[in-house]
């Protein structure tokens, strides 16, 4: 086949346009005026929505191919931002992000699947279970944080027991009163309140949140003991975690009690609810929450742990807590990303969550620049649009043998990138909204301190 320069050009233009769009969005969200902000977000949303849905000629600007990439980039951004919080901002080298992504995807898919199949009891158990487990964890956390010097393993065991009890209670309650809710679904012909189209959206929204929280709870349990390990050891333990999760997915129908997940065969029948609105909303939520955390006292504490644990401790920061916090929040983002992904693709298979693919978020955050949120976002979009978009278009045009070269070109790009820019694409540059607001130096007159006369600053410059 001949190379078609127009295709290539269009694809390139699309990549540039997407990055420009991200830049615009971040600028607009960071704007001081409330109305510019609201308007800007809506415009940013509408631009893409129109490009997806309004055909020019008979095909929209963003075809299904492009919008598919867009959704994947959105979920990848969420996952990668979460990892950046864990690794980039808190310095904990984690390879387990992909596992939490998978947990989120399967959990959310399971909830909407149950909804789709009128399984009221199942829905109740899932919702209640996650809430109860969360409450138990919070409660135990309050109690245990008052005790001093409790060994991590003991705390872990107590949490584990608490979680198991909470899960059992949820199961019991769900089984007891779940059936009573079934009439709410109505019948196929006359759908009840729960089965309505609006509820599909609401259930999806809740499912994604619940999935995120569930991933966060798992990460809490796992992270509590494992975060006591040193950096590289922690990395290996998390790699192990994602492999364990993957194995459990493969055996979800035999070892775990989820026949609808069908183990290695892959879960089918997940309603494809994700559209641009949801992807955009969740992306925006994750970006905002992340930025608000990072640019706050909590965020500074998190970063201080990365910079110097000992000094951080000496500043009164409970290092273990902040490691756990960023790990849990990072996993929450991954779980949300997974939930959005599951409802975009409508099919889950353990192969998607293989540990080899799990290096991708790590590659992305290093590419974008560790500790740079903008870098992560741009790298996520750029990575998907390059590997799945541009490379596919180029190789597709170079004949029938060329596609086998895809994964030869990709690592070469990776190598060159790392050798040329080891600090990442954007270093620590942030755009618009994500930039820390510069604090103006206060002049001496403003400050309420007594002027000091301790001589000039030391001469050692």
């Amino acid at each position: 086949m001949d190379i078609n320069p127009v295709f290539l050009l269009v694809t390139l233009i699309k990549i540039v346009a997407v990055i420009a769009w991200i830049y615009g969005l971040l600028r607009v969200v960071g704007h001081a005026s409330k109305w510019v902000k609201i308007g800007g977000i809506i415009v940013a949303f509408l631009i893409v929505q129109l490009a997806i849905s309004v055909p020019i000629g008979s095909s929209p600007i963003l075809s299904n191919f492009d919008s598919g990439l867009l959704f994947q980039a959105c979920t990848m951004t969420m996952v990668a931002l979460g990892l950046n919080l864990i690794y980039g901002f808190n310095g904990q080298f984690s390879l387990g992000q992909w596992g939490f992504y998978g947990i989120g995807a399967y959990a959310a898919a399971d909830i909407t699947y149950r909804w789709d199949n009128y399984d009221a009891a199942g829905l109740l158990v899932a919702g209640l279970g996650v809430v109860l487990v969360g409450l138990v964890i919070l409660m135990l956390n309050r109690i245990l944080s008052r005790m001093r010097g409790i060994p991590v393993l003991s705390a872990f065991t107590l949490y584990l027991i608490g979680v198991i009890v909470a899960g059992a209670v949820a199961l019991f309650i769900g089984a007891a009163i779940g059936q009573a809710l079934t009439p709410l679904f109505g019948t196929e012909e006359a759908p009840g309140f729960l089965a309505s189209a609006l509820m599909a959206q609401v259930v999806f929204f809740l499912a994604v949140l619940i999935a995120g929280v569930f991933a966060a709870e798992v990460s809490f349990l796992f992270g509590l003991p494992v975060l006591t390990l040193g950096s590289d050891y922690f990395g290996i333990a998390t790699l192990g975690f994602s492999i364990v999760i993957n194995t459990l997915m493969v055996n979800s129908d035999t070892i775990l009690p989820f026949p609808e997940m069908k183990g290695g065969r892959g879960m089918v029948g997940i309603p494809k609810v994700t559209n641009w609105f949801w992807a955009f909303l969740f992306l925006l939520l994750v970006i905002i929450v992340m930025r608000n955390i990072v640019h706050s006292s909590t965020g500074r504490a998190v970063m201080s742990v990365r910079e110097d644990e000992t000094a951080s401790k000496a500043m009164g920061i409970n290092v273990a807590n902040y490691k756990l916090l960023s790990f849990v929040v990072g996993s929450l983002f991954a779980g949300i990303g997974g939930g959005v992904y599951a409802h975009y693709i409508g099919f889950l298979s353990p192969g998607t969550f293989d540990f080899l693919v799990g290096f991708n978020p790590l590659i992305i955050i290093v590419f974008g620049g560790l500790g740079s949120m903008t870098g992560t976002i741009v790298a996520s979009f750029g990575w998907i649009f390059f590997l799945e978009g541009l490379l596919r278009v180029i190789l597709g045009q170079m004949g029938t043998e060329a596609p086998t070269w895809r994964f030869v070109l990709y690592p070469i790009t990776l190598l060159l990138m790392m050798l040329l820019r080891p600090q990442g694409l954007l270093g620590t540059v942030e755009w618009g909204f994500l930039r820390q607001r510069e604090v103006k130096p206060r002049s001496r007159e403003e400050s309420n301190t007594v002027p000091v006369s301790i001589g000039a600053a030391p001469a050692a410059k």
């Binding site: 919070l138 956390n141 944080s145 001093r148 010097g149 929450v289 608000n292 955390i293 706050s296 006292s297 909590t298 965020g299 500074r300 504490a301 970063m303 201080s304 910079e307 110097d308 000992t310 000094a311 951080s312 401790k313 000496a314 500043m315 009164g316 920061i317 409970n318 290092v319 807590n321 902040y322 756990l324 916090l325 849990v328 500790g371 620590t428 510069e438 604090v439 130096p441 206060r442 002049s443 001496r444 400050s447 309420n448 301190t449 007594v450 000091v452 301790i454 001589g455 000039a456 600053a457 030391p458 001469a459 050692a460 410059k461």
Partner: protein
């Protein structure tokens, strides 16, 4: 995680301590590293408002004592009583929250953060808003964050660092890094300040400035200071009482003058022959 930093609106001066009761009293403090005895039967009492010095040759165990006070090392035995409470074996962050600030021998700044952030981090435990407030960016967050920032800037102003507050800590020259570190330690609102070789690597001119600075902050914030130092000139010029350590044990204590004349100290510093010379 999930803990809310306690809102403590403490005045900038430390709460008055009844004169006579030591701020810090260490009794029979011992530390073994494996079979090696790093600190043996160490005793000291630091009284309110005092500027005490801890000196000794390299490897005498001074920093180990500091690390045990600030909770980085678990003592093998003994008591560390801070204002009537035994803090031995507490987590470092708990010790800091009880009012012990410290600097490090080899400067330990958060090097990829700005000077302002370095100081703000120290005030984190008194930030007064939770992560939820931060996520919601509510009024409480705005108010407290502003208060916290202004406070941090006050400290920077005291140390003449306000012009470079947005520089990354790693880009500062050595002397400024030292000052940032002291400012940061002070921002954690301590009653007792532990300074680990603050004058290391400074020239005589800088040392004079530093001495003035330490005197100033001590009076300004009503602090009690315990410092480790190598430079005799510095210690002799600033400390009221000095404890000398060698091989993990206290070999002398007294006023600078007494110490200067103590033959054991001279021997420890200059070797055996020197004392008889």
């Amino acid at each position: 995680m999930l803990d809310t930093p306690t809102t403590q609106s403490q005045p900038m001066t430390a709460t008055a301590v009844t004169a006579g009761t030591p701020v810090l009293e260490i009794r029979k403090l011992t530390k073994f590293f494996g079979g090696l005895r790093a600190v043996n039967d160490f005793n000291i009492a630091v009284h309110p408002g005092e500027l005490a010095g801890l000196i000794g040759p390299n490897g005498a165990g001074k920093t180990t004592v500091f690390n045990m006070i600030s909770g980085l090392y678990m003592p093998s035995g003994g008591e560390i009583v801070l204002q009537g409470q035994d803090i031995a074996g507490l987590e470092p962050f708990e010790v800091t929250r009880m009012g012990v600030g410290r600097t490090f021998q080899n400067i330990r700044l958060f090097s990829n953060l700005t000077v302002l952030d370095n100081v703000r981090i120290a005030y984190h435990m008194h930030a007064g808003y939770s992560m939820i407030d931060a996520i919601m960016r509510n009024r409480k967050f705005d108010a407290k964050e502003r208060e916290l920032t202004e406070r941090a800037q006050d400290f920077l102003a005291i140390f003449k660092l306000e012009r470079i507050q947005n520089e990354l800590a790693k880009n500062l020259p050595y002397g400024e890094q030292r000052r940032v570190e002291i400012a940061r330690a002070l921002a954690s609102n301590p009653r007792l300040l532990l300074l680990d070789e603050p004058a290391a690597g400074m020239n005589p001119g800088e040392i004079v400035t530093l001495m003035e600075l330490i005197h100033f902050v001590k009076d300004r914030f009503g602090l009690t200071i315990l410092l480790i130092e190598h430079q005799m000139r510095f210690v002799m010029g600033i400390c009221q009482r000095i404890t000398v350590m060698d091989f993990g044990e206290v070999i002398a204590r007294g006023t600078p003058k007494e110490i200067q004349e103590n033959p054991q100290v001279i021997e420890a510093y200059l070797g055996k022959g020197a004392a008889h010379a």
